[in-house]
Symmetry: C2
Subunit: 244 residues, 2 copies
């Protein structure tokens, strides 16, 4: 750590947020259209400079709020990793700390204003190269998706994509969207409801949908993230995605 080094050089530091959600059974990412150079007109992850006296999470939440209007963090936020500082911004060295947000499909305040236009885009279109992102945001997105995929296997974070109460089928579509696979509804139901400390029956049911009504669940107390505490590996043995 801090030693007797020459010039404790300073670096501009930014935070970026990879906000993922599931829209119509498809994994989406929150992107903004850049209004300024560099990469003007290009899609990018929301983010911006860390201000003096600010912490990383604080900055991430603030930037997210500035571009989406959400007041509280609408889901699960965690650090993804740091990138740089070299070779990622044409204007010079910038260190950025990427964050991962798993959230239900929240409305973004878009268009109309003079702010950058924020909207949900299917992750597949970006990873396939159909849409190209500014800076090294494409790599961040890829890393984020990989992280999300593996988190679903052993943690209860799939529920972060759902609201407070959800059906097993809704939770299953989350897994299917993130993993890009189909899962057997019956086996998934057994695993989800049979895992101790994962789901909690609310006693209430859905209504008005086609087919038989489904039971509504919420995250069990043991699986709910206690502020700042590490996420418990509730699914043990893990719920594994099919490989290859």
């Amino acid at each position: 750590m801090p030693e007797s080094h020459p010039a404790p050089a300073c670096f501009p530091v930014t935070v970026d947020v990879v906000a993922l959600t599931v829209v119509d059974d498809v994994l989406n990412v929150l992107l903004v259209t850049r209004l300024i150079e560099p990469f003007r007109g290009r899609l990018a992850l929301p983010g911006g400079f860390v201000l003096p006296g600010e912490d990383l999470v604080t900055a991430a939440i603030r930037e997210l709020a500035e571009e989406t209007g959400v007041e509280q963090v609408p889901g699960h936020l965690e650090q993804l990793g740091s990138y740089g500082p070299r070779g990622r911004d044409p204007r010079g060295d910038v260190l950025t700390v990427a964050h991962l947000l798993l959230a239900p499909n929240f409305p973004v305040l878009s268009a109309g204003s003079d702010a950058e236009h924020a909207a949900w885009y299917p992750v597949g279109q970006v990873l396939d190269g159909e849409l190209e992102l500014a800076f090294d945001h494409g790599r961040m997105l890829a890393d984020a998706v990989e992280r999300a995929k593996s988190k679903l296997e052993y943690s209860p974070l799939g529920a972060a994509f759902c609201g407070d109460e959800f059906t097993v089928a809704q939770l299953r579509t989350v897994y299917e969207a993130v993993w890009g696979t189909r899962l057997d509804p019956r086996n998934f139901h057994r695993k989800a409801t049979g895992t101790p400390g994962f789901l909690e029956d609310t006693g209430r049911m859905t209504t008005g949908e086609t087919g038989r009504p489904a039971a509504l669940f919420r995250l069990a107390a043991a699986a709910r993230p206690a502020a700042g505490q590490p996420i418990r590996a509730v699914l043990n043995p893990p719920l594994m995605r099919p490989r290859d």
Copy 2:
């Protein structure tokens, strides 16, 4: 990302390295004794300021070399996470990016010189509170150990603690040291040698040891880390540590 924000404030950025190894069946961490304030005389992780024009990994490798004398990275190095910038250095806000190094027990150039004294210390003594580290390095170590524990479950990185060639028993003691558990040698042998794409028989055997000679293995080509590429999840289904 970079927007039209007020003053793109700068932060001093450091890198820290949590170097783990296994010495005599016990997980150890590489620590230095601080020669300057703050925390003078206290144990700390090796690390230091990122220099202008430097990248994170470059800085981590350089700092490691300066304090241990190793020329090449002696094992597997990956980013652990970022901490700060607030409330972790009494002198002011400093952002640090912690790195995790899993390596065989390499010799550290210690003592004698005027440099900080570097040596291996049992991880248990630190986590138990017997030894207290400078800054927030205790938390970093805890995070690093947790990361290492979970990596062993599905990745071939346990082998990073061994040399190029090793026996199944040596690999097993790594797992036992990191997880702090005992594993059945026979079942471990089956799982390790039976997992496709994990181990590769060299055809050679150990000699001179007590008991029956053991076959020497190396990491299979498929499991060897291709520079900069993500580590393959070779152990599928994972080799799971006993819970509770």
